[in-house]
Symmetry: C2
Subunit: 441 residues, 2 copies
């Protein structure tokens, strides 16, 4: 079989790469060794966010109308099991979109035979271009082995059929804190262990405060400056040995923030350069072998689904023109914690570190009209201006990821304070906090 | 007592006018004859949106996790009563913000004595400037008298202690359809009567389709091209006589879309020109009497709360500089229906009417990753481009008002398709539909 492009991996990067090539007329195949959708669409952000979505809705409905809804214990117990109900629909959508674009799907691992040939299920596929989008898998630490029953990655944690009473999450990174938000809200007593000085290092302290307060209100223990020496399974429990303090004995351990690159089989036959850090690419996402490209986590540029999606959407242009990789200076980001954190552009600590002059405008969501009517008592909008120009826009609060989903478009547009004030914001919304932050300054 | 500025009315326009003047150092008083907050913060959009918020959350939580939550009949019955729980908090916030800004509050109607004097509770208040923000009240139709028990305005409809089994809403306008969404979702059998050819005339037909489908699925009857001749109360029922077809007999009638101007008492003493259409102003929001300004609904420019808010925020500048009223060409708008409709800029029908060339890009929310995980099966993003520049951005779907709360900032920024595609959108969000609409075209 002869193709113009073969994509290895059907996660966010691979899926959009395949669509990008196919809609421009390339005869395209996509290869998936596991289940369709990869980490991003299957085991990563989507299921976490979905569960938190439901939890948040129930909590908000309860807070507004306390006598109205009876929450049954059944609900929390079944939330995780229900997650898998959505998977067949995701798989169906992926299959349908591949089919509509006339992309051939091969299930199986296979391996490279040379820089233009891939062998899968005893079939030889030839192609002009390869796009490697094989992503990453959960990694482990020395002294800790993922057994997938007691010591879990996010993949197994999200498929638990029964909630433990207690759980240790190793890693106070974004993944770890998202899972801590989820499991503590489900009633699990969570302990987070972080080796650095701070939980969520590299994130504005104002922004994470409401999240940490929520975790602490749900009896979460946050240990910083602590390393894990080992984790051993004994009599249905895990003994977590720390470099200081007492050992922890718990039901489940979840290891977060560690990824290992999925290097495709037979890559040696192509002479593509790779390492444990992934497959290096130039600013066209091209490897050292000109007809082989790498998109998404595997190229090591940024381990984020929306970057993989964008790299995929533009891969046909990269192959055929001198399109470069994008400017990530206004990169929007979100953490799907409770409440959510989202925004784009600069953070205050970055400007402090760079000794840059800046101005901060903040407004609490509880003082917006919508926040008031929704009983929201935490979170805020935080705007950062440099020389009167908006260079950072951040929010901690419900729906932050949606409200600021297109905030990247606002950064870099050189919006002055008065340009923002001259604009009308829909009323009543939490988004109005942006204009209140400026008006009340 | 001597002031620099006296504001008449404490709704959105008056409240922000008072803050605008006070924070610039004006000694300021605000006068409210009824309850703090006016129509906007008390009887209008906020309570409707709050109830729809709760309903939507419950419906979504139910749809995601069917066995999880038990909805009790108690809930729907108590939703309206609970609305009033939020009112004291709104009043508290208004009072606190007025107090923090050192604004004197006078409760009572009072009247003008001349263009610099107002009499209230037997006190004479003198001022350099008056800002009239007295807003509007529900209006009525010939042959129909609001009795506030059987024939209601939105004010009484939102305070019903007991839901009727059936209800006739006169007016298929925004207010009427928002109330139809609310009451049909609460289980009331609603009939909407509209004298024009279409429900929600002046709104894109694509955008309203999911709303009409939702209403019809909840047994709402939509009558168009029908006028109401009279409504009479007989034996605890209302007989609604139509200009064609059968009479309707119903429990409650809600009259929507009709406003009458609240002209303050004694205005004749000031020589301010006014009519049934309100108090005309120049582009500084100044009346024919130079020290008297009018903001919000009363000046007849636009009957929308966010416009009143903006006019209020800028009133000090209008008084002291040559600030003009704003350009409303990228005006963002929202309808708090189920699902919500929101957006900014041009609509397709406007461009059709003007014979302008344009291009439409649409994407269904159910095919976004977030829509999939939230079980959203209706609604879409609709983008309008003229000569490759974004001139309209619209959405029908949950949270549309929040997702596009700042969309006015995007219109008029001359965003090309490729500028939007080059931007990263937070994943997974419904807002990603914007980039999918372009990618899949």
């Amino acid at each position: 079989m002869k193709y113009n492009s073969i994509i290895i991996g059907s996660g966010p990067g691979g899926f959009y790469s395949a669509l990008s090539c196919a809609k421009q007329g390339y005869k395209t195949a996509i290869i998936e060794k596991d289940q369709l959708g990869g980490t991003g669409f299957r085991n990563g952000c989507l299921p976490v966010k979905r569960n938190l979505d439901v939890l948040r809705k129930v909590e908000e409905a309860l807070s507004i109308s306390l006598d109205g809804i009876k929450e049954t214990p059944f609900f929390r117990k079944n939330l995780l099991i229900n997650t898998e109900k959505y998977m067949p629909r995701a798989e169906q959508l992926i299959k349908q979109r591949l089919k509509d674009a006339e992309i051939d799907l091969y299930k199986g691992e296979g391996r490279f035979l040379d820089k233009n040939t891939f062998l899968i299920n005893n079939k030889k596929l030839e192609t002009d271009y390869f796009i490697i989008a094989s992503g990453t898998s959960p990694g482990s630490l020395p002294g800790i082995t993922l057994d997938n029953q007691y010591i879990l990655s996010h993949r197994e944690a999200l498929k638990l059929k029964k909630l433990p009473k207690e759980m240790v999450i190793i890693g106070g990174n974004v993944e770890g804190i998202e899972l801590a938000s989820l499991f503590s809200s489900l009633g699990v007593k969570v302990t987070v262990i972080e080796q650095l000085n701070e939980i969520l290092e590299g994130t504005d302290r104002d922004l994470i405060k409401p999240v940490l307060e929520d975790l602490l209100s749900k009896k979460t223990t946050l240990l910083t400056n602590v390393e894990v020496a080992s984790a051993e399974i004994k009599e249905n429990r895990v003994i977590v040995k720390l470099n200081k303090g007492k050992n922890l004995i718990t039901e489940k351990v979840v290891l977060t923030g560690l990824r290992q690159m999925n290097i495709p089989e037979g890559i040696g036959k192509t002479n593509v350069i790779y390492s444990k850090k992934g497959i290096p690419v130039n600013n066209k996402l091209q490897t050292n072998i000109p007809n082989i490209f790498a998109v998404g986590d595997i190229n090591g540029i940024h381990g984020m689904a929306h970057i993989a999606i964008q790299q995929g959407m533009f891969i046909f242009e990269n192959i055929n023109n001198n399109q470069t990789i994008k400017d990530y200076s206004s990169l929007p980001r979100a953490m799907f914690t409770l409440p959510e954190i989202a925004g784009a552009g600069k953070q205050e600590w970055e400007l402090l570190n760079m000794n840059r002059e800046y101005e901060v405008k903040m407004y609490p969501l509880k003082n917006t009209w919508k926040g008031l009517s929704r009983n929201i008592n935490t979170g805020f909008i935080k705007l950062i201006f440099e020389k009167n120009i908006l260079t950072g826009i951040w929010m901690t609060g419900p729906d932050a990821s949606e409200i600021l989903s297109s905030s990247g478009l606002l950064i870099g547009k050189k919006l002055s304070k008065s340009a923002i004030m001259d604009n009308l914001f829909i009323h009543p919304t939490l988004g109005e906090g942006i204009i209140e932050a400026l008006f009340n300054a």
